[in-house]
């Protein structure tokens, strides 16, 4: 396992360092505006990105053939998905509080809570990541989002005894289960096969189309909307369960995360590129994807005022929707040209930028019309990127990234 870990860190230390520095800086800036320490469990997920990139590149296809037991491999991936991210997050928190904001009191209780929260969040991600890619592309992917949102919800209730109980009785078993299932992650991905291909094909390819009639986009979009609805329902449950008082910045942040839901089509781009569709037509399909996923989620928030009056107006929700979807079209566009890595890298940058400015510029303070215009402008940029990417020969190359979807 030592050789595996050393090799992994040698290949990915640059990305770890980059994430560490950016997060430290962002956390430090954020905390300087806060009177008390924060517990950002959400960001622990960023430290799992190197592993997901590595898996997307099919490394497990090589490591499983080495003279190392599956148990050891499972432990290796558990260390990388849970232990390393938690340690790095604690370092980030330490740097952000002790170095940049020494005035902030960060008690041992806070420290333990952050560590526990990070462990549970990372464990939950690891657990969900251990499901087969086909499952990840569907329902489990949505649970992943829910876990992510749940961790945001917990962030707002550090000193709530219910949060402690939730972490201990729900989170820790999930983490333990992740440890047990880590071996499955290896087996599930060992063959590095696009397991989701039949589903993706079913969703992407229209059931019936003749040579003269262009393929109908309805099944394609219906699948995305269905995905969004599942996410929305789970999200609503999480919000109610956590008694979380939503704020619009966080909602926008969640919307950004939902763009992951459009990732499966990136892996299948080569397939849909063969359909009798013009480049413009195809670019439009891809462009509308984030909107299809986001619409049901934001619908939940549109309905929320009925239960919690005064939280949001439908116009505000619509402007948030268009803004978040417009932002989401950028990583989508990059992914077409640069593959999954390009998509994830640009999404990470966007998210970090968002985290950096969100507390300083509450989205609520942006007039709805500005949200609309900005969202539409981003959409145009996204469309341009998408079209450029589709015209580029690279988008025709077979990508094994599908396993990540």
């Amino acid at each position: 396992m030592k050789l595996l870990l050393i090799d992994f860190l040698r290949r990915w230390w640059g990305l770890y360092l980059t994430i560490f520095l950016i997060l430290s800086l962002v956390e430090a800036i954020e905390m300087s505006f806060q009177p008390h320490a924060r517990a950002e469990f959400l960001v622990v997920g960023f430290f799992t990105f190197p592993l997901w990139f590595d898996l997307a590149r099919g490394s497990v296809g090589v490591t499983t053939t080495l003279p190392v037991s599956r148990k050891t491999l499972g432990l290796y991936y558990f260390v990388l998905t849970v232990c390393v991210p938690v340690i790095l997050l604690m370092l980030v928190t330490a740097v952000a509080t002790q170095v940049f904001n020494a005035a902030i009191v960060f008690s041992w209780t806070d420290f333990v809570f952050v560590a526990l929260g990070a462990l549970v969040a990372a464990g939950t991600y690891s657990l969900l990541g251990s499901f087969r890619p086909a499952e990840m592309a569907g329902f489990a992917n949505m649970i992943w989002y829910a876990a992510l949102f749940g961790s945001i919800a917990l962030e707002t209730s550090c000193h709530d005894p219910w949060a402690w109980l939730g972490l201990i009785f729900l989170g820790l078993p999930a983490t333990a289960w992740a440890f047990v299932r880590s071996e499955k992650l290896i087996v599930g991905r060992a063959r590095n096969r696009p397991d989701s291909t039949p589903k993706a094909r079913k969703a992407i390819l229209p059931a019936r189309h003749s040579a003269v009639r262009p393929p109908s986009p309805i099944p394609f979009f219906a699948d995305r909307i269905r995905t969004g609805f599942v996410a929305a329902v789970i999200l609503a449950v999480v919000i109610v369960f956590c008694k979380w008082k939503a704020n619009q910045n966080l909602i926008f942040g969640m919307g950004m995360f939902l763009f992951v839901g459009s990732f499966p089509i990136w892996g299948g781009l080569r397939l849909i590129r063969t359909l009798p569709l013009s480049t413009n037509h195809l670019a439009l399909w891809l462009l509308l994807t984030p909107l299809c996923i986001l619409a049901p989620v934001f619908l939940v928030f549109a309905v929320l005022p009925v239960f919690a009056p005064g939280d949001f107006s439908p116009a505000r929700v619509a402007s948030l929707l268009i803004l978040a979807a417009g932002t989401g079209s950028l990583p989508n566009g990059f992914s077409v040209r640069f593959g999954l890595a390009g998509g994830y890298a640009s999404m990470t940058l966007l998210l970090l930028s968002f985290v950096a400015v969100a507390n300083e510029v509450p989205i609520a303070s942006i007039p709805a019309i500005v949200g609309w215009l900005l969202g539409l402008a981003l959409y145009c940029v996204g469309f341009f990127l998408m079209r450029r990417g589709l015209c580029c020969s690279d988008s025709y190359q077979a990508r094994k990234d599908t396993v990540f979807s």
Binding site: D7, R70, R191
Partner: protein, 290 residues
Amino acid sequence: MNQNAVEIRALEKHFPRFKLGPLDLTVPQGVIYGLIGPNGAGKTTTLDLIFGLGDPDAGAIKVLGLDHRRDEVAVKRQAAYASPDASFRAWGTGRKLIRFVSGFYPAWDEAYCEKLLAELHVNPDEKITALSSGSRVKLGVIIALAWHPKVVVLDEPAAGLDAISKQQVFAELLAAVQDEERTVIVSSHALTDLERFADHIGMIKNGQLLLEGPTCRIVERFKLLDFVSEDGAAFVSADGVFIQRHERNQWQAMVDTERHTMESLASRGARQISATPMTLEDIFVALGKD
């Protein structure tokens, strides 16, 4: 030292729409064993299970007398696996990948590895993403051979290779078997090459072993017969007779000579029988048809 390289007994693996087995397979030591079958027959699943990539639902697999699950690491210390599905992109270049993998095998032969790289025209310093798909397959084969494993399991080593590269890869496998008594298990659709290089053939169809044995015996066993008969029904239903085509009373059929002789066919009303030898590919096509 007469133990078999791989022994599979009553192996079963269930998928929602496919069932592999019960499968019995025996791979003797020191041979090139070709595993053939139509797409989706279960070849890759079998190879994956041999190598512990997935758990069988029933049955036992022994590699060099070792249980593939209980002695997992010991098996992997003696057996190499190369699959076209493996992606090496995470390591950037072939050189880095080789450096990583070589650390796990004390028997890694640097000189042999360099020789293979040169012979198969793979530039290890080039980015993996810049390599052609054929070169990536060759890189996988090189990594599997470079540490002199006793058993080499290769899934589709000819996928994406041009005719020259295919010959080179199979020649290397042959050299490995002849010089070092290694066992090579190859799943491939390059049937012409397999017929030339493989000592044993196992054919799988719909998750079941259809036939197994030395290549020359299999090729000799099946003959393409042209004959005249007024009553075709006697042959259509016969076991071991695979009708290829017929026009009025002219018939052409692949016949399993272990079950039917010319005389037995003549006794069923066949006249003017002429026999033609078949290639492995012909046999595969005839048996693979539903």
